[in-house]
Symmetry: C2
Subunit: 265 residues, 2 copies
């Protein structure tokens, strides 16, 4: 006789229900090309929508929160999501069950037990974003989904100098898609890196938080400096102005990848 | 008055025709995912078919020969094609004109004037092929079109040792899809490399020529050694047997990329 086990539906929900709520922490990677971003929308394919549907096959009341609401076409290698569920499956089994039903361009890289109530969005203490630019004369066909193609020599020294002026705690309204609306415009950029290799450029920025379109707006303006349209010091001038209309056009979404989300401890 | 120019149709064919035949050497890269290989087929999308159609918009009698007839799903970063044409456009303008009409997953990286009658296939003196294996527990979504996913630890030392036994001039019938048919089974493998980094493996082989499926059959058998199914010396035994049925199953097409084609001088 095994009374405890008899209450468990294999691979599914525990019969006692309510009091078995738990939270899993998922690390998710995706090629965002085919999706209208992270956040669930009624009639469009989104990463959160796909993952939530898969999670609800295990537990109809599962809830999923992502650390970052990436835009349409933006990719992730280390998106973090909190999954609130009453499934009794092990974290690894949940990861495998999700990967078995979602398309190959979205993958749950890992699943782990988290503190009950863990919120991937509210508790994030920082993020790393990377932006890839392909500067070869002809666009590399393997990179066409992941890089902004600019068939032009960009000045690496000027761009590195410009990027560095953004480090520290500032009001980033000038690089925000909808400044003034909602959240505080203050962010702390902890590190900026630019790696230049074989005609490709990676911009990597680590900050405590990012405003809407902030990374893409920064890259757009840094590239304007690299093209020689502005001096490196111009980026600081734009930043201090707080005026979105002074910055260069937003860089396209498909060059952007969420690399990592940071948490305390 | 400019009589010579008046005979030229802008961007197109020279009116004198026949006696202006020239040969261009194109370097072509492609993501082969959407194509039924290189070679033109009546009712299927192929890379040669797409490029020939684009070239015939410039010159209805253009002929295109590729150095390697890559299989369905195989990629290229350095395929070489000879284009026989009477167009009067500069090589660079031909490259730009082709890229303007073909899909983004095929790119002409460069176009140069070649000796009249240059044949990219017959004159090739060697080729480099690379094969990518993704050994992470979960398949990387960015690599799913370009790597064979084997979620298992493979023994790098055993695989390197096995690969090295293939160097030199041998009868490769044991690794040929259809041995005995057509061409000579003798090839010279000049170098073999295996690069192992961050859970990914690259196999790179340089040879004077490759038999049909040879690279994929070699990788399939090297991976069998890496899995521990066979000792490293087994690869030499298979090679010497000349018996295709002894080798392991063929590795999937989508991990394979034609890297470079070599020519004299």
């Amino acid at each position: 006789v095994a009374p405890a086990q008899s209450l468990t539906i294999p691979g599914g929900v525990h019969a006692e229900g309510e009091n078995r709520q738990r939270t899993l922490r998922l690390v998710v990677a995706y090629d965002g090309t085919s999706y209208c971003g992270w956040q669930t929308q009624p009639d469009a394919p989104t990463v959160q929508g796909i993952l939530t549907r898969a999670a609800r096959a295990l537990d109809p009341h599962a809830r999923l929160t992502g650390a970052s609401r990436t835009d349409a076409g933006v990719h992730a290698l280390g998106q973090v999501a909190s999954l609130s569920t009453i499934t009794t499956l092990s974290p690894n089994a949940v990861g495998r069950a999700l990967n078995a039903t979602i398309p190959a361009d979205i993958r749950v890289l890992s699943a782990a037990e988290a503190r009950p109530g863990f919120d991937a969005r509210r508790e994030a203490t920082g993020k790393h974003y990377a932006y890839l630019v392909d500067c070869q004369p002809v666009a590399h066909p393997f990179l066409r989904r992941f890089a902004w193609h600019i068939p032009q020599r960009l000045d690496p020294h000027a761009m590195r100098e410009a990027l560095a002026t953004l480090r520290g705690c500032h009001d980033f309204s000038a690089f925000c898609a909808a400044p003034g609306r909602g959240a505080l415009p203050t962010c702390t950029i902890r590190t900026t890196h630019m790696v230049c290799r074989r005609g490709r450029l990676w911009f990597v920025i680590s900050a405590d938080r990012f405003l809407h379109h902030m990374m893409r707006n920064i890259v757009g303006s840094v590239v304007a400096v690299g093209r020689g349209s502005h001096e490196p010091s111009w980026l600081g001038t734009v930043l201090r102005s707080g005026d979105r209309t002074l910055a260069a056009p937003t860089a396209p979404a498909h060059g952007l990848t969420l690399i990592r989300v940071l948490y305390q401890g």
